[in-house]
Amino acid sequence: MQAHHAVQGLCAAAAVALCACAAAPTLPPHPLQTAANDIASAEDARAADYAPAEMREAREKLEAARALLRLATPGLVDPNAAKERWLAEEASAEAGLAEARALDIRTQSAVRELQAAPVAPPPADAPPADAPAPAPNGA
């Protein structure tokens, strides 16, 4: 009987724990993770080809934030937490700028290429624009 109660108690505790997990609010992503994601997104957009300075800056800032985080002692308040967050936010902003610049430069260059492209000549068998209309068959 005692064992039965113990099992019941354990089940109840497990149910409560499960409910607590399900109801726990999702934490916002850490700024370092957000910055890493933003840099990856900019890399996917080939931002390094079009905005290399911004991409370099973004990577350097993220690396500086990570280096500060490595100095933190587990279990103790991180004295550099604000600086890490700022660096990560700056890395994100720089990556966003790199991606926007890349899109801008790529699109503008496509426009220029199309504008500079010679107008395609009409097909050889097409009549000149000012030629008289061909006589209808059987005339």
């Binding site: 700056e90 902003a93 700028l97 610049r101 801008d104 503008q108």
Partner: protein, 110 residues
């Protein structure tokens, strides 16, 4: 005028100047924040670009407003101005890209 009184008056004058300077500090905008504000205003006043990247422009407006709030910590102020500057540049680049995309569609006859 005797010497101690002269020193006292001079000290009071210096203290008053220091207080005045401290009071005025909050109301004088940081030149860097002012420059970012000018850039944002230019973008918003451009009829071709102002409406082309609404989300990025909103983020830029919020970042510039945050950068304009006087901070006690100069490092925080520098950080906020940096973010605002990048957000304004991002909004401009995106707006220009969207204008170019429209041109591209027209040229391709779409």
């Amino acid at each position: 005028m005797n010497l101690p009184l002269q020193y006292l008056l001079r000290g009071c004058a210096l203290a008053a100047l220091a207080i005045l300077a401290a009071c005025g500090h909050g109301s004088v905008r940081d030149p860097a924040a002012l420059r970012v504000r000018v850039e944002l205003d230019r973008l918003q006043a451009d009829p071709q670009l102002a409406s082309r990247a609404p989300q990025a422009l909103k983020e830029a407006q919020e970042a510039v407003a945050a950068a304009e709030v006087p901070q006690n910590d100069p490092a925080l102020s520098t950080h906020l101005i940096y973010l605002a500057d990048r957000k304004v540049q991002t909004a401009r680049s995106l707006a220009e890209a969207h204008v170019a995309e429209d041109q591209l569609k027209m040229l391709q006859g779409k």
